[in-house]
């Protein structure tokens, strides 16, 4: 009997309709006047996306306070990388005792973002930053190195520059 009445009287439907109707009118009429937006989706392309701190994005080389590349060419990352996308060439630089990577190539199209390289590095000289917009038109654009403006390992990519919240 109870079930019969519940089916007969559309109270549940009315409740649902009132909830959705409330949401609709709130969004529709006050969207531009509220301090706190009502919707819970992120406004991603317009507002930089916030990713979790442990998010693994693109590999980036770090520099120390003097602006020197921290990497000392121990090749630990190159060895541990399961997809072998890191290629390092040892070299020398004036006024630096440690070896200096004259070439540090990172082929992003095959990287699986496992973070093994970062963990293996004993000198904290690489991180995976928070960039996730890694699309590019050509395969060559995925080969990142230490030189050049377009594809260097120190800065966010062009897409990333626009929308990633870098902390």
């Amino acid at each position: 009997m109870h079930k019969f009445l519940r089916t007969l009287i559309p109270a549940d439907i009315a409740k649902g309709l009132s909830i959705t109707g409330k949401h609709f009118s709130q969004v529709f009429f006050t969207a531009n006047r509220r301090k706190v937006p009502l919707h819970i989706v992120s406004e991603y392309p317009e507002v930089p996306a916030k990713v979790q701190p442990r998010f693994r994005g693109r590999l980036t080389l770090l520099k120390d306070e003097q602006g020197e590349i921290k990497c000392v060419c121990c090749l630990a990352c190159e060895k541990i990388c399961p997809t072998q996308v890191i290629t390092i060439e040892k070299g020398k630089k004036e006024g630096r005792k440690m070896p200096f990577p004259v070439r540090y190539d990172f082929e992003m199209e095959r990287c699986i973002f496992c973070e093994f390289c970062v963990e293996s590095c004993g000198f904290d000289s690489i991180i995976l930053n928070h960039q996730f917009e890694l699309a590019a038109y050509n395969r060559e654009d995925f080969s990142l190195g230490t030189e050049g403006l377009e594809q260097n390992m120190f800065e966010p990519s062009h897409a990333g520059k626009f929308s990633v919240a870098d902390d």
């Binding site: 007969l8 309709l17 969004v27 969207a31 531009n32």
Partner: protein, 388 residues
């Protein structure tokens, strides 16, 4: 007022047809557009606010800063219209594939059946009983003649509407069958069963206005239901209204009754094999059907071209100030406003209620709606017998 000759009345009828076609082809895209926006708002997704907004340049910068302030860019109220244009272009430009083993003729004609059945219904819907407006005298050939508010306010308008509207299901069933594929066939069969189940309570719930108004003429029915009735006599018709709306939802295959095209179960249902403008015709037919159901509901239960539903207009009229007196007259704007509200309700319900299971739909149709419709009819008959 001069009596029109035959040619003149034909021209006037053509004008009326033009008005109705314009109405249909304005309402349908607006419904499609509104559907996205309203659903987005209801589910707080802000759907369709992105199309036509750029990330670059001045407007992109404006957008970004407004978003950062936690505001929806003001222009987002119209944003999404390019999506509509894209939809139409896509429908028109898409390749029209016919499955190899399909029954080509039936496959070809099924969408047109749906579409024609949906549009022809408008012939008997009168937006305003009697004269809608009088053409100005400078108008060539037919100047000074009255244009009525519907194409043909025939005596058995309701029968015509019900009869023709039911033809639409042939389109769906034939489409499902002629595609020669399992999913469309299942969709068509489900549609047939659903139509059969819901046609009964639909007709029964529309019988109550017939009983109360003692007429089958569309204009007369809406007039009597809106003004010729004491207000309390319309109270039982709230049940009738809800019944009619439920059955109307089912008849137009809208959520939560979209059994024929249940995407999760049947790929896309009866129009799985359709593409291009053939699919577009089904799409159009669905939205026109929505408008038809809304028109009937607003005419019979919400007071049609009169201002207020349930005969409240008669109660309010004496208190209306003089300059508002034209509100009392039948007015197409009220009718259209009610249609628009009911179309909104369609989308609103779609955003709220999930799709029923198939057996649930059948159970609701046969076990609840038909008895309820009969009880409603009995109530109407009692009112008719003892009160009106």
């Amino acid at each position: 007022m001069p009596t029109p000759t035959l040619t003149q009345s034909i021209v006037i009828t053509l004008i009326q047809c033009l008005l109705v076609v314009i109405f249909v082809f304005v309402v349908v895209p607006l419904t499609v557009f509104a559907e996205r926006k309203v659903l987005g708002h209801i589910q707080q997704r802000l759907g369709s606010t992105r199309v036509a907004s750029g990330h670059v340049g001045f407007s992109g910068w404006m957008n970004r800063s407004m978003w950062k302030m936690g505001r929806v860019p003001v222009l987002s109220y119209w944003r999404g219209i390019p999506g509509l244009v894209g939809d139409v272009l896509k429908l028109i430009l898409k390749e029209d594939v016919i499955p190899a083993k399909a029954d080509r003729f039936v496959f070809f004609i099924a969408p047109s059946i749906s579409m024609v059945a949906a549009i022809v219904v408008f012939a008997a819907i009168s937006f305003v009983p009697g004269t809608f407006f009088t053409l100005p005298t400078w108008f060539p050939f037919v100047g000074g003649l009255p244009v009525s508010g519907g194409i043909a306010d025939i005596n058995v308008g309701l029968l015509w509407i019900l009869g023709v509207a039911t033809v639409g299901v042939y389109g769906i069933v034939l489409a499902g069958w002629s595609s020669n594929s399992k999913y469309p066939l299942l969709g068509g069969l489900r549609s047939a069963a659903q139509m059969v189940s819901y046609e009964v309570p639909l007709a029964l719930s529309l019988l109550a206005p017939v009983v109360l108004s003692a007429s089958l003429n569309f204009g007369e029915m809406s007039a009597r239901m809106a003004t010729g009735m004491p207000a309390w006599a319309l109270v039982p018709q709230v049940i009738g209204f809800l019944l009619y709306l439920t059955c109307g939802f089912a008849e137009t295959n809208r959520l939560p009754f979209d059994m024929p095209e249940a995407e999760n179960e049947l790929v896309a249902g009866f129009h799985t094999e359709y593409s291009g403008m053939k699919f577009g015709l089904f799409y159009l037919a669905e939205y026109i059907n929505m408008a038809v159901v809304s028109a009937l509901a607003s005419a019979f239960f919400l007071g049609g071209p009169w201002l207020l539903p349930f005969g409240l207009q008669g109660l309010v009229n004496p208190y209306l100030p003089g300059f508002l007196s034209w509100f009392g007259a039948p007015h197409a704007i009220f009718f259209v406003a009610k249609i628009i509200f009911l179309l909104f309700t369609y989308i609103w319900v779609r955003g709220t209620i999930p799709r029923y299971r198939y057996d649930q739909i059948m159970a609701v149709g046969w076990k609840y709606l038909i008895p309820l419709a009969l009880i409603n009819l009995l109530l109407a008959a009692a009112i008719r017998c003892f009160a009106v």
